[in-house]
Assembly symmetry: C2
Homo-oligomer: 467 residues x 2
């Protein structure tokens, strides 16, 4: 069993000093604050709330996913996910973490279809994709993911693809090539499913988009591409035990939430997640949505204006040592760093023999790339600690479906605890609505004429301010 | 001629209010501050400093690049760049901006070799790449980019590849497959070039890594992949005229620098660059290095401790509307937003006809994806402005080599002006050294034993803090 571990010593005052470090007394006080929150969450769970917590225990949906995968894999060379935000970030993160770097390019490196996750509507990008997929439609499966089916970006993609499928493969072919992941009962996409007889999977009720990766939203594309979703869910269940503990210093989610909250109060408003692992690169992107959308809120749960929210930033080691570390070490001490890394690499490569013409590179010869990456990471952490910058480590024994399942669950629960520490609702996203309505107004949707009028007063390029 | 334009009205107090907006008086004062800086830079330039400013006028290096490209393109199916930081980010940004999304995957969409830019040392990622390239070595060109040749990451990659080339293709083959871009006179890689007789290009003297994309560092891989480097340089020259103007409100670099500096002083310490364009996605990443490494400094030019530096953040529209906009609108008003977008798309796609089963999507039918992307962007900007968040626009007529050349030069000059406003040296990176030394110490390089001893006192996992 390879559990992931949290290491929190490098935020303590004994390591990074009193000004920026957490004292033993402060640590105890953080424990006192989180304990009732864990208890509250537990009792909400017993009342059938906090539904995302139960996803790893669901047997029915994973079974449906696997049945569909079994049927579709032999028919499919290209799998295309149409989704955005919570309907794409988890899928991308799983694929990068658990399949090879050149999975799509190199047939020898994949066991399953190529995977495209189209989470944007850039026309130039989309046309490049259409050029690729059009001659391959007969062996392509589209997985459209939207709880409501009314997300403009996903709906637009869907209308383009439906039209292409119908024109190229003939009417009635949608049902052979489309899997819809949507609300089991209501919504636009549900209506389309019924009308067209599409294959479908469920977005479980009460689970928000950014907490949905362990539901069919994330599981279907993962299983299609050969990822072991049973191990993923087993990892999440193993983590559930640990993050349910009321003992602060035994609950990694509570520690992550409390330390983040503490530093936000101290003016460290930026939370940098820096994997030293290409595989975990997009997990940092998944976290970026989870953290920003859950914790960035104007009002607390009592309705008072608070305008809180740490800004999550993703970085990548060792690459960003040559891009961000200058700022991270010498700029304002306004960041908390979380390093993600693995202790073992399933594959490694030895650095070639030294060159006569470059004896100064002898220290590299005969070592492995993994050893160098580890050294770079430790060196960076050392440099940050010397400059009194707080660092957390999330340590994977090795990166596999089981540890990735743990990681996902750990951060979901950390987010829900952090939400309570900030005093806000981590599950809503009220600010997204105005942007959606404004898009409807600009696209001429009936009923939004008044908003369009308001917008025109503010928008429009005034030539006098164009340089 | 398609010039890029800066639009700055949405940072003014008349749009976003007095608390967060810039008043006419403040704007004049920013002009007064930047004018002498423009003059200083101009006189440094006349003394042969600020060398990156002259890159677009260099005829010799681009000629050498083109001669090499002409010779190598017919021999090459895969081009591999070994480099990191300033020796990779510009190359990646040019490729994403100016070649199709599926360039590497789809032979029909490329005019040139596949391009791999390996800017990390993750062993699992690297091995996946080696599995791909090993059987293709005879038609592969490696471009190793390092001014010194002593960057550990690039040196390690180089030793691995040299060994593989020699073993697979036989001794003496390096010179057929390697182009080194390095210092013209000194350094480790220069010695290797001489010893092995490698093909080579120059990193011009006095040009730092993050300002080097318009030198052979960025030009070679771009030209190999069919990008028009003459137009790129022409764009930079066109921008040079505009950013040399002492008239504040006619100099877009001065306005960008001054507005960023102003907001940093006001507590808006985060600078978000949000392209609404997949093509410009990696330009935001390039900017992230330029901005962070240039402006994040502990000491000012007089040696006083200041710990300044805005934190650059990259985002991507429309995707990040479903990830970050909740935070950007409702969280703390501590960010300046810069939107990048194009007014014309060379290719667009019409959204398919409406579905009987989903009349609520009728508003999308018959419009184009480009129209939807524009509407999403305007809607997001409107929502931010309503919430008094300052926004700048950098508007491309269309995205091509000429406008991208302008953009690069614009931001390089903006960075150099911002450095002077912050009172720091934008061209050094002192904080990177300790990390490098610490890496040497951990890798057992002779001469670093004392540092290793110091590190061991601080580092090492103490089991008592592992959860």
């Amino acid at each position: 069993m390879s559990d992931i571990k949290l290491y929190y010593r490098n935020v303590l005052s004994c390591v990074i000093g009193k000004e920026h470090g957490i004292s033993p007394r402060q640590l105890r006080s953080l424990g006192t604050k989180t304990r009732p929150i864990i208890r509250t969450i537990q009792s909400l769970r017993e009342k059938g709330l906090e539904r995302y917590r139960e996803l790893p225990y669901d047997r029915s949906n994973p079974r449906k996913v696997k049945a569909l995968v079994k049927r579709l894999r032999p028919l499919c060379d290209d799998l295309v996910v149409l989704g955005i935000g919570g309907s794409a970030l988890g899928n991308i993160a799983l694929q990068t973490a658990l399949n090879p770097y050149l999975y799509n390019l190199d047939p020898a490196q994949r066991d399953g279809p190529r995977l495209f996750i189209l989470d944007n509507i850039d026309p130039v990008q989309f046309v490049s994709f259409l050029d690729w997929i059009e001659p391959r439609l007969d062996r392509t499966i589209f997985n459209v993911i939207s709880k409501s089916g009314r997300t403009s970006e996903t709906a637009a993609q869907m209308l383009i693809i439906w039209d292409m499928l119908t024109k190229r493969l003939g009417p009635g072919q949608l049902k052979e090539h489309v899997v819809a992941t949507t609300d089991p009962r209501t919504g636009t996409l549900r209506c389309i499913v019924e009308q067209e007889g599409l294959m479908c999977l469920e977005v479980p009720e009460g689970v928000g988009g950014r907490f949905s990766v362990l539901s069919p939203v994330g599981l279907f594309s993962a299983a299609m591409c050969g990822i072991d979703i049973d191990r993923l869910l087993a990892g999440a269940r193993a983590m559930d035990k640990r993050v349910s503990s009321e003992e602060f210093l035994q609950n990694p989610a509570a520690i992550i939430a409390a330390i983040n909250w503490h530093y936000y109060q101290q003016g460290k408003t930026i939370s940098v997640m820096m994997p030293y692992s290409y595989q975990l690169k997009d997990m940092a992107d998944w976290y970026r949505q989870l953290w920003a959308e859950s914790l960035g809120k104007a009002r607390d749960t009592k309705g008072r204006l608070v305008h809180v929210g740490p800004t999550p930033v993703k970085a990548l080691g060792a690459t960003d040592q040559h891009s961000q570390i200058q700022l991270y070490r010498e700029g304002p001490n306004n960041k908390l760093f979380t390093f993600l890394y693995a202790q073992r690499y399933p594959r490694d490569v030895r650095i070639g023999p030294s060159l006569q013409s470059a004896p100064e590179l002898d220290f590299l010869a005969g070592r492995t790339l993994g050893q160098l990456l580890d050294a770079e990471r430790k060196a960076t952490q050392y440099a940050l600690i010397v400059d009194q910058r707080p660092c957390l480590d999330v340590i994977f024994d090795k990166i596999d479906a089981y540890s990735v399942g743990q990681f996902i669950y750990l951060y979901e629960v950390a987010t829900s605890i952090a939400g309570r520490l900030f005093g806000i609702d981590p599950y809503d996203q009220p600010a997204v609505e105005l942007g959606k309505d404004a898009t409807y107004a600009l696209m001429g949707r009936p009923g939004y004429e008044q908003l369009l009028g308001q917008m025109q007063q503010v928008m429009g390029l005034d030539q006098g301010f164009l340089v």
